[in-house]
C-alpha cells in the first residue's frame, strides 16, 4: 500500500511514521513537504505529530493553511484515507475535516505516558482489524489533547458512531481516572461522517513493535492495510 506522510515545519513524528510504515509494516512511503501540492498518489495520507509552526497561535491553526492541506482536503473529499495523529489530529480539526477541538490538558501540563484505549467502532477502515471493545495500550504525548465538542456536535458524532477510541483502564472500563487529559466522554479519537478521515491523540507510530513496550499500534496499521482502498 502507498502512504504519503506530510511534513510541516515543526513536525517531529514524521520519521516515526515513516519508520513504522516502511520498515515495520513494509509499505511504500512518500514524504511530502508542506509547500508541495502533489500527494504522490497515496492510498492513505498520514499527518504526523509534532509542533507544526511551534504550536504558536493555536495547535494546528497555521498548518491548516499550508498548500498541502488543500490537496489533503480534496483527497479526503474523494474518499481517500487520511489519518492524523496527535498534532495531525489537531490540524484536521482546525481544517474542518474532523469535528471538535483539542484544548489544553485539564492539568495544564504536557503528559507523556502509555494509556489504554477501548475501540468503540470496528466498522471503519482504521479499526476493522480490532475486536469490538478491544483494549489497546498506546502512548500519548501532548499538552493539548483535551477533546471538546459542543452538545449538538456530541450528539451528532454519537448518533453517527464517529467516536472511535476512548481512554479506559487496563480492563476496558471507561473511568474518570483513566481519562488523562480531561477529554469529553473520554474521547481519544474520532472519524468523519464518511469514516475515511480519522484523528487520534495517541501514537500508533510509537507502539508498532514489542521492543517499544507495545505493538498495539499495529492494529491500526493492519486495519488500514486490510481496508478497501479509497480514491487515489
Amino acid at each position: 500500500m502507498r502512504f504519503s506522510v506530510t511534513i510541516f515545519p515543526g513536525s517531529n513524528c514524521d520519521h516515526d511514521c515513516e519508520y513504522v510504515l516502511r520498515d515495520v509494516e513494509k509499505q511504500q512511503v512518500e514524504m511530502i513537504w508542506h509547500k508541495e501540492t502533489d500527494l504522490k498518489k497515496p492510498d492513505c495520507v498520514v499527518i504526523p505529530g509534532g509542533f507544526s509552526y511551534g504550536d504558536y497561535l493555536r495547535t494546528g491553526a497555521i498548518a491548516r493553511f499550508s498548500p498541502v492541506m488543500k490537496s489533503v482536503a480534496d483527497f479526503a473529499a474523494k474518499g481517500g484515507l487520511v489519518i492524523g495523529i496527535c498534532n495531525g489530529f489537531q490540524i484536521l480539526c482546525e481544517a474542518g475535516l474532523l469535528p471538535g477541538a483539542l484544548l489544553r490538558n485539564k492539568n495544564l501540563k504536557f503528559i507523556c505516558q502509555n494509556v489504554y484505549l477501548r475501540v468503540e467502532e470496528t466498522n471503519t477502515p482504521f479499526t476493522n482489524f480490532c475486536k469490538p471493545h478491544q483494549v489497546l495500550k498506546i502512548p500519548i504525548a501532548h499538552g493539548e489533547g483535551n477533546y471538546f465538542i459542543d452538545s449538538d456536535g456530541l450528539k451528532k458524532i454519537q448518533d453517527n458512531r464517529q467516536i472511535m477510541l476512548r481512554y479506559c483502564d487496563a480492563n476496558g472500563k471507561i473511568t474518570p481516572e483513566s481519562n488523562p487529559n480531561g477529554s469529553l466522554e473520554n474521547i481519544a479519537g474520532v472519524c468523519n461522517l464518511n469514516r475515511n478521515v480519522f484523528g487520534l491523540m495517541p501514537h500508533p507510530d510509537r507502539s508498532g513493535e514489542d521492543i517499544l513496550g507495545s505493538h498495539d499500534g499495529t492494529f491500526i496499521w493492519q486495519s488500514i492495510l486490510s481496508a478497501k482502498v479509497g480514491a487515489r
Binding site: P9, G10, N12, C13, H15, D16, Y19, V20, D23, W33, G49, G50, F51, Y53, G54, D55, Y56, K109, F110, I111, C112, Q113, N114, K137, P139, A141, G143, A170, H203, D205, R206, G208, I211, L212, G213
Partner: protein, 742 residues
C-alpha cells in the same frame, strides 16, 4: 550612532565592569600593542570569562583522561564523539545553565536545552536523546516550588517541541542549593563517521555565513554574568538571560543537518555563550586562519544596535558556518526552504586576526588566538577545616530508630529519593520511537535503528559526598554512573562532566575543585572510561556561601546487542534475590542520616575501584548470558530502598509490582545495614534454574555476593526489621512529589 559607544573611555571602572582584572587588561594592551577600544574590550571580557575561557579550571581539566580507542573527537569541539561500531558514532555533552535558571527558571532552563542541542547537531549528529540533572533547595519552600516547576516546564517545552525525547535525569533537593539551583542539560546525537564536521574556518576567501534567528539585545554578557556570584543585583541582570524559541531551533536543526549531510560545509559552529564573538574567533583559531566580518550584514531584530551589542548578543538559535567554494548558493537555497535567515557576513582570511567592520569601517581588530587563549591561573587552595570535622563525626551518637519500617517509608517519600514521575511525565520521552527503557530504571536505553546496537545513558551527581570528601566523592560519582550503565547490561564507554562549584578564587572552594578533578581522573583511568568533553560552572555562590561541590557525570553505555538489556525491577514470583557486594554498616553521608536525623556529615563512603570494576564486568557477562532478571544498584536510601524499588518500579513500564522476602545480611547497627550507602552493591534477581551458573560465575569473578531471599508475595519483608505492603510503598514513592506540587 555607534560612534558614541566607540568613544567610551576605558576607565578602571569600565574594565572592572567587564569582569577583567588590571593585569588582564594590561595583557590585552600588550597583545594589541595599544589600548583596546570598548568593542575589543567586550570581546576579551566574554572570551576570558570563566564560562568561555576556563581560566581557573583549565590547568586542572588538562589532567583528566580524554583518550581511548573509541574516541573520535575529544574535548575542544562543540561536543565529544565516540565510535560505536558499524560506521555509527555517538556525540554527547553536558552543559550548565545554572545562573540564568536561577533568575528566570523557564527561559533559563529552556535555553540550556537549546544550547546543548545545538552543540550536538553542529557536529553533524542528529540529537536522539536528552537528559538533565537538577538541584534545588528543599521542596517544601514555595520559592523552590516555583523554580522547580519553571525549570521542568522550560525543559519540557523545548525538548518536546524539538521532538527529542528526554529519557533520563535526576533531581536532588538539598539546602545547599537553596539560593543557587543547578540546571545541567545533556544531549546525545547519532551520526555516521563520515558526517562528522567541526567548528573550523579554512580556505582563504570562503564565505562566512550567518544562519538562523535574528540578533537582538537579549543575553548580552550572559557568559560574564555566569562567571560571577548571584546577588540581589543579579535579578536586575535579567536581560542577560536569553529567550527560547524551540520552533526556530527545530527548523535550524533540520536545515543544519541538511547542509552538513549534503556535504556543503567546511565548518560550522553554534552561537552560544558569547554569541558571534565566540563562534568567529574559535572557528578562525581552530582553522589556523583569520575571519573578517561586517556586523552591518548581520540580520538584526532591532534598530540602532552597536557593533558591541551585535558581537556580544546571546540571542538564541543562531549558527555561523563556512561554505565550501561554489556551495554558497546551495546553502542559501536550503535556508530559504526552511524559511530561515541566511546572510553572508564575511570571509575567511589568512591574517590570523578577527577583524570586525561596520559598513566597511574597522571597529575591532585582534588576533583570533588571543581571544581563545584566556590566561591560565593556578589559584591558591587550602583544605577547609570542616572536612576534618566531618571525618571526626561519631556515628554512635546517632540513635537507631525503633521503627525501621517507618524510616523506610519516610525515605521512599523523600523528594530526592521518590519517583520523579511528576517531572518525566511532562517530558516526551518516547518520540523518535527508539526508547526501550524509559525513565524509571537505573539507566535509559535507546536503540540504533537498523542495527542491533543500543545506547544506555544516565546522569548522576553526588554533591553531598563531595562536600564530605571531595576525592572519594568524585570517585563514587563516576562509579555510580558506570554502575547504573552496568545494571542495564551495557558497557560504559565514555563520559561527559559538568563541574558545578563556588568561586575558584576562594582557596577553600578551589581545594574541592582540585580534589574532585583528581578523584574523577583516577576513577576514569581505573575503569578505562575517557572524558570526551564537558563544562565548568563556577561562582555558584551567594552571600550565604557556596553550593556543595557538585560534579555531574553523564555516562554513555553501549550494547552490541540491545536485546541483552536489563531493567531494575523484579520479574517473576519465585526468583532468587542476590546481593552483589558487601552490606556495610556505616551511615556516614547517607540520605538517611540527612532525612531522618537532620545531619549532613560523617565519613563519606569509600570506594574500592578494583572491586567496583569487577562488579561492572560481572554484570556485563551475566547480562550477555541472559542470566539476570533484574539488576538495581544501591544508592540513596541504601539496601532497603533499593529492594523496595526493585519491588514496585515495574509499574513505570506497566508491569506488575512484586513482593520479596529477604534476610538482612551482615552485622552491626541495623540502620546502617538497611539504609547506609556502602558502595559497589547491586541487587539482582535470577531464575532458580540459572542460580547455580550465576553463583559459579560470580565466584570466579571475585565479586562478593550472597543469596538473600526470594521474590514473591505482596509485602517487602527484610529480616525481622521491615515488613510493609508493597502497594503502600509504591504509593508513597510515586505520589510524594505530586502531592507537594499539587
Amino acid at each position: 550612532m555607534s560612534s558614541s559607544i566607540m568613544d567610551v573611555e576605558i576607565t578602571d571602572k569600565v574594565i572592572k565592569e567587564h569582569g577583567l582584572k588590571p593585569d588582564e587588561y594590561q595583557r590585552i594592551c600588550d597583545i594589541l600593542g595599544r589600548k583596546p577600544n570598548i568593542t575589543e574590550l567586550g570581546l576579551y571580557s566574554v572570551m576570558w570569562s570563566e564560562h568561555c575561557g576556563y581560566k581557573h579550571s583549565r590547568a586542572l581539566l588538562k589532567t583528566l583522561p580524554t583518550k581511548g580507542d573509541k574516541v573520535l573527537q575529544g574535548p575542544g569541539e562543540n561536543a565529544g564523539i565516540m565510535d560505536i561500531g558499524q560506521g555509527w558514532a555517538v556525540a554527547f555533552k553536558v552543559e550548565s545553565h545554572n545562573h540564568p535558571s536561577a533568575i528566570e527558571p523557564y527561559q533559563g532552563a529552556a535555553t540550556g536545552v537549546g544550547g546543548i542541542l545545538r552543540d550536538i547537531f553542529t557536529m553533524g549528529a542528529r540529537p536522539v536523546a536528552n537528559l538533565n540533572s537538577l538541584r534545588f533547595g528543599p521542596l517544601t519552600d514555595p520559592k523552590v516550588k516555583r523554580l522547580f516547576s519553571g525549570v521542568v516546564h522550560g525543559i519540557a517545552d523545548y525538548g518536546n517541541c524539538m521532538g527529542i525525547p528526554t529519557v533520563a535525569g535526576e533531581v536532588v533537593f538539598d539546602e545547599s542549593y537553596s539560593e543557587n539551583c543547578l540546571v545541567n542539560a545533556m544531549s546525545v546525537g547519532l551520526l555516521k563517521h563520515d558526517q562528522i564536521i567541526k567548528g573550523k574556518a579554512t580556505g582563504i576567501g570562503n564565505a562566512v555565513i550567518y544562519i538562523g534567528a535574528t540578533t537582538g539585545r537579549d543575553g548580552i554578557h550572559g557568559a560574564t554574568f555566569a562567571s560571577t556570584e548571584i546577588t540581589d543585583e543579579s535579578t536586575e541582570k535579567r536581560s542577560a538571560v536569553q529567550v527560547a524559541d524551540p520552533f526556530m531551533e527545530k527548523l535550524l536543526m533540520e536545515a543544519t543537518l541538511e547542509l552538513i549531510h549534503g556535504n556543503l560545509l567546511i565548518g560550522i559552529q553554534d552561537m552560544g555563550a558569547a554569541g558571534l564573538t565566540c563562534s568567529t574567533c574559535e572557528m578562525a583559531s581552530r582553522g589556523g586562519a583569520g575571519i573578517e566580518i561586517d556586523v552591518a550584514k548581520v540580520p538584526q531584530r532591532e534598530k540602532g544596535m552597536t557593533p558591541y551589542e551585535i558581537l556580544l548578543s546571546e540571542s538564541q538559535e543562531r549558527m555561523l558556518l563556512v561554505a565550501k567554494p561554489g556551495c554558497e548558493q546551495k546553502v542559501h537555497d536550503i535556508l530559504a526552504k526552511w524559511d530561515l535567515h541566511a546572510a553572508t557576513i564575511g570571509v575567511v582570511t589568512d591574517t590570523g586576526r578577527m577583524v570586525v567592520k561596520e559598513n566597511g569601517k574597522v571597529v575591532a581588530d585582534v588576533p583570533a588566538d588571543s581571544l581563545t587563549e584566556a590566561p591560565v591561573y593556578h589559584p591558591a587552595k587550602s583544605e577547609p577545616a570542616i572536612l576534618k570535622k566531618h571525618k571526626e563525626f561519631d556515628e554512635n551518637t546517632v540513635p537507631v530508630p525503633a521503627n525501621l519500617s517507618q524510616v523506610l517509608e519516610t525515605l521512599l517519600a523523600d523528594p530526592t529519593i521518590a519517583s520523579k514521575r511528576w517531572v518525566y511525565r511532562q517530558y516526551d520521552h518516547m518520540v523518535r520511537s527508539n526508547t526501550l527503557i524509559r525513565p524509571g530504571s537505573d539507566a535509559a536505553v535507546i536503540r540504533v535503528k537498523g542495527t542491533q546496537l543500543g545506547l544506555a545513558m544516565t546522569i548522576d551527581g553526588l554533591g553531598s559526598y563531595c562536600a564530605l570528601d571531595p576525592y572519594e566523592g568524585a570517585k563514587i560519582v563516576v562509579a555510580e554512573a558506570a554502575r547504573n550503565i552496568a545494571c542495564s547490561g551495557a558497557e560504559a564507554i565514555g563520559m561527559t562532566d559538568c563541574l558545578n562549584f563556588g568561586s575558584p578564587e576562594k582557596p577553600e572552594v578551589f581545594y574541592y575543585l582540585d580534589r574532585v578533578v583528581a578523584g574523577l581522573g583516577d576513577a576514569c583511568r581505573a575503569f578505562g572510561i575517557p572524558i570526551t568533553g564537558g563544562n565548568v560552572s563556577l561562582y555558584n555562590e551567594n552571600p550565604t556561601g557556596a553550593i556543595d561541590p557538585t560534579p555531574i557525570i553523564g555516562m554513555m553505555g553501549l550494547f552490541q546487542n540491545v536485546e541483552n538489556r536489563i531493567t531494575q525491577w523484579f520479574k517473576n514470583d519465585g526468583d532468587d534475590i542476590y546481593l552483589l557486594g558487601s552490606i556495610g554498616q556505616s551511615i556516614g553521608g547517607s540520605r538517611y542520616l540527612a532525612v531522618t536525623h537532620g545531619k549532613k556529615t560523617g565519613l563519606c563512603p569509600t570506594l574500592n575501584l578494583e572491586i567496583e570494576l569487577k562488579l561492572h564486568q560481572s554484570l556485563k557477562v551475566l547480562a550477555d548470558q541472559k542470566l539476570l532478571q533484574s539488576a538495581h544498584d544501591c544508592s540513596d536510601g541504601g539496601f532497603a530502598a533499593a529492594l523496595a524499588e526493585s519491588c514496585f518500579t515495574g509499574l513505570t513500564h506497566e508491569e506488575k509490582s512484586l513482593g520479596a522476602v529477604v534476610t538482612l545480611p551482615g552485622d552491626g547497627r541495623l540502620d546502617g545495614r538497611l539504609f547506609g550507602e556502602a558502595q559497589s552493591r547491586v541487587i539482582v534477581s535470577v531464575k532458580p534454574s540459572d542460580a547455580a551458573e550465576v553463583e559459579e560465575r560470580l565466584k570466579k569473578s571475585g565479586v562478593p555476593f550472597e543469596k538473600i531471599g526470594t521474590v514473591g508475595g505482596d509485602s517487602l519483608v527484610i529480616g525481622k526489621e521491615v515488613k510493609l505492603a508493597v502497594s503502600r510503598l509504591a504509593d508513597l514513592f510515586f505520589t510524594s512529589i505530586e502531592k507537594l506540587m499539587a
